[in-house]
Symmetry: none
Subunit: 236 residues, 2 copies
Amino acid sequence: MLPIHEQISEALRSRIRSGELPVGSRLPPESTLMEEFGVARGTVRRALRTLNEQGIVQTLQGKGTYIRSGRPEPSIAQTLVGLSESLSYSEKSLTTTVLTQEVVPVSAYPEFPTSVDPAEKLLYLDRIRYLDNVPVARLRNWVRLQLAPGIESTDFVTTALFTALEACVRGRVASGRRTFEAVLADGDIAESLEISTIVPLLFLKQVTYLDDGDVVECSDVWMDSQHVTVAMNLVR
Amino acid sequence: MLPIHEQISEALRSRIRSGELPVGSRLPPESTLMEEFGVARGTVRRALRTLNEQGIVQTLQGKGTYIRSGRPEPSIAQTLVGLSESLSYSEKSLTTTVLTQEVVPVSAYPEFPTSVDPAEKLLYLDRIRYLDNVPVARLRNWVRLQLAPGIESTDFVTTALFTALEACVRGRVASGRRTFEAVLADGDIAESLEISTIVPLLFLKQVTYLDDGDVVECSDVWMDSQHVTVAMNLVR
DNA sequence: CAGTGGTCTAGACCACCGG
DNA sequence: CGGTGGTCTAGACCACTGC
């Protein structure tokens, strides 16, 4: 049983998908939606907030709520997905090499959030991603085995980390936080991406949370922005 | 006169910045904040929603609202805001130097989307942004004067481009698309940011759209990621 | 169990938009 | 001006958390 506001936002999404509410047109005003769904205004507004956050509609004060045009292009930076999930929208072939896959103590990754018991074990993954056999990204991941038991025996050549995570984790993979920096490659990274150490790289640092707020995974990713573009769609 | 919920979120941000509410600690429960600020619960929740969206706190059902780790980084990447709008959440002072402000033909910026009449005029802006007098970003913007008449006479030392845009534009500033790359600074950029040409920079390219889909502005921004971090919050 | 946030109601007043 | 969304109140009940 979903909350009422989610049922309403899904009902409206469905009408938009079907074309019953065409792109560019105005949604019924909140007062009408209140009557139609038999709810209070706050509930209608909660549903419209979701659609605004998803970029499906746009609400303008004094005017109304309008259906936005077109599907936004896939972008790495919008929702929490793994790198392979976002790269797979391109037409190029995606392959992975696993350099290291081993169980290590939490202390092996000093930046892991301090709230974690130092006696816990992590799965450490070190991989290279190729697009059409050109190396484009070096990925290092640390996963808490306590929260994703069994993930250490996954074959990461054929399975994406995110897929494995969602299969092994008890709760739900819910949110994340990414930061971007520009860095120069050190020798090891440069060699694996087949570039020189004076090529600037996009460096992405990520922390992934379960729905209860527990940190389940940390990543360091270096990307060659000559080959991989980080793009995002924004709404006002 | 700001809405009450914004005053509350700013008050809480200020307490977090000052260290009165330390990182990792729990905010007072909503009931306490209601009493303290003398408002209804909905208003407190509206303020906390803003802080969650900005990545400053994280709210967990049944547990409370917690202050997230790390300095409150400008979350430049979540919604469409100008650079100053995102940087102004940090505790540092933000200043701007205008290097160039002039009206140029569309042909001056060859990358401007092709749909624009080449006879149109653009406002060309070239600026440097400082945080606590340290140069952190170099910004070049091209704005279609036809869509934002009068913007060319704005004083951009005191006014942010986004503020001026929203004041001059007929429609609404509605959406945008940003891409990130890592680049090395060329001589001019390096000099303005007081760095050497082998320091890697985050290079942000942006196109801004009005609600009717017209391109109103293009930007090229170089940021020194040693001083400005691009952070974003993601949901599954 | 008490405390917390998530949802929902039924009102109110205001600011903005268009004709 | 009427219609729209933005803000705000004062309640209510529920689900989840931790003890």
